[in-house]
Symmetry: C2
Subunit: 421 residues, 2 copies
Amino acid sequence: MNSKPNAIVAQSGGPTAVINSSACGVIQEAMKSGKTGQVIGATNGILGVLKEELFDISAEKSETIEALKQTPAAAIGSCRHKLKSLEDSKADFERILDVFKAHNIRYFFYAGGNDSMDTADKVNKLAADAGYELVCMGIPKTVDNDLAFTDHCPGYPSVAKYVATCAMEAGRDTEALYTTDTCTILEVMGRNAGWIAAATGLAARCPEDAPHLVYMPEAAFSFDKLVGDVKEVLKELGRVFIVAGEGLKDKDGNYVTADTGTFSKDSFGHVQLGGVADMLKVVIEKEVGIKTRFNKLGTNQRSAMHFASLTDINEAYMCGQTAVRCAMEGENGKMVTLVREKGPEYKCTTGLAELRDVANGEKKVPAEYINDKGNHITDAMRDYVRPLVQGEAPITIDKDGLPVFMRFERKPLEKKLAKYM
Amino acid sequence: MNSKPNAIVAQSGGPTAVINSSACGVIQEAMKSGKTGQVIGATNGILGVLKEELFDISAEKSETIEALKQTPAAAIGSCRHKLKSLEDSKADFERILDVFKAHNIRYFFYAGGNDSMDTADKVNKLAADAGYELVCMGIPKTVDNDLAFTDHCPGYPSVAKYVATCAMEAGRDTEALYTTDTCTILEVMGRNAGWIAAATGLAARCPEDAPHLVYMPEAAFSFDKLVGDVKEVLKELGRVFIVAGEGLKDKDGNYVTADTGTFSKDSFGHVQLGGVADMLKVVIEKEVGIKTRFNKLGTNQRSAMHFASLTDINEAYMCGQTAVRCAMEGENGKMVTLVREKGPEYKCTTGLAELRDVANGEKKVPAEYINDKGNHITDAMRDYVRPLVQGEAPITIDKDGLPVFMRFERKPLEKKLAKYM
């Protein structure tokens, strides 16, 4: 048994194309530092900690660890288990600390969004109160790009590059077949923030280019407005390509469509309209009278490793690496941020933000990135997103003509505590 | 005016990633042959011929023509206008011939599926009856891969490579987040033939790999079977990734679902299918009780130039080129086919089939490519599709970090006939 303190790395929430790059940065930097014993993976995020389902990442082959950079989703395992306040989730927080103590874990690297930064912050407080030496560092991750204090979030540039390309490609499809298939809707993720929808606007370089209309949750949406917008584009081009963020809201802030998780009572017939694209399609076909189809990329947009942004891969790695370096230099209770340097050339460095501040922040698409009509982006948005989507991530292709992704061997750590949950 | 006979090239039906490569093969070969005057493009397929909306492709820049190989969809323009029998669509057929005569068009190169081959065949017959010298050659095109007499159809290998990759990627997403998002359905195209769904099976190299279940229209589907299959995979892996072809049918051959919207039939009279994934989701959530989400790639699967198969691009080009060469050598009334040579190494050459035979044929996924349970593919299918998805199409990326696609300048030909339609 190594007497050096151990480090744990965990992934949380919806996967991205590059969260594994961040993990790779943490793992390689921690192993290189010589200051940690084992680098431990928490199977399925904080659930793995609670259940003491841990494995020795530092025992994995170095090629496996390196291949994290080419593998989408969350190779260590993620979850959506949300911890509440220290009072309401007291048992969970104490269990986390117990598991850390049992495995001599003194470094906690947590990649996730607001909720994860909140969890890391609370674990940190509890450890301090208990007099247990622990360093908690957050690594930003969310395709939604809605974390405050960072210029952008790793994961976002890759989804941005992919959805903009998808808009270009499906836009050409509509352009080719507009005499029958006149309108296409591309539904993209983003329940509260329209960053992903906004990114597709980059694809529109001239009036002919898709998307012609981009709807984001930040701009009040109405079906009357939609019908008017569609008719206007139709008059000009004879076709319409629309991008819709899944969380479109009316002027009062209510979602225009119900959550997709429920379904109607009648057993084998009519599925309740859930998706925003589905609803837009019905309205356009009825009110404008043109055939409308929709594409819903779903989880394929956040896992599209085959066309990920190289800038994103590199920055995600840098975030993981920086989290370890800062931890070793005495920082604690911080999330690594991405800082866009001033100047004509894009240059991105890192900074730090307090975990508790990040936990309570939310960054939406600002008004100056949305056009006056609320149906497309401005040049300011283009300038924001353009540098992020530069470069294509290298991928290795196997004999089947498909990308190669890694999996861990997952040598489990022996459990030292009683069962929990 | 050039006194040499002119050639016309037209695209029909649903676009693909490589139909423009076929057009490029036709255009470059025709221009090189020295035997044709203008190479004319029919704007929006046969509609462009009927409306006499034609443009001079041979006047386009050579870079524009070369860039067809990197541009998805149908750059000349496509349509779904279906001509019926020579009797029922007599006026249309005669109009086509009138337009050909007016522009001294003696070569007709038509890229499309069964319906287009049927149209080309009938135009050819009418010309022969009228004593008008005309050569009609078909070029296979369909992502559905359901044309008879050809080993596979240009367009299919690219969609196969893309959807298999999408299954891998979204499969990793489900694998990472299975503790809440336990089941994912990927809906793919394929109205009557399950070739696209079947291609995703290539991604499953070990039991952990997605997709775990692949449903094709060729295997009788039932919701009881689905529920049983899902429960079995769930027991083994704790998660399920399903690929569903849009045209799933029950044992009596009835579609499991049909879109009930306003435009439920396309202009060819085909039922427009939608919502198969939606319906499967409802059943799984209700009967198995696990959260289920779905991705519907829609037109993005057939236009995914950014990860198209290089083999496909090259073969599509070869089909266009061969159509011209054969026409110049005296062939007529034929469609170019792709022939897979016997032997351990994949080698693909071309052959010819009678247009009228192709028009009436349909190739479904054969029984030996589907497993006994009717819920996945066999190694025979893997061996069939593997060579097709080899190589990645080169793409040019611009300053915005996005692919570069071409557009024609479209110098219109002067109309010589009265208005029609």
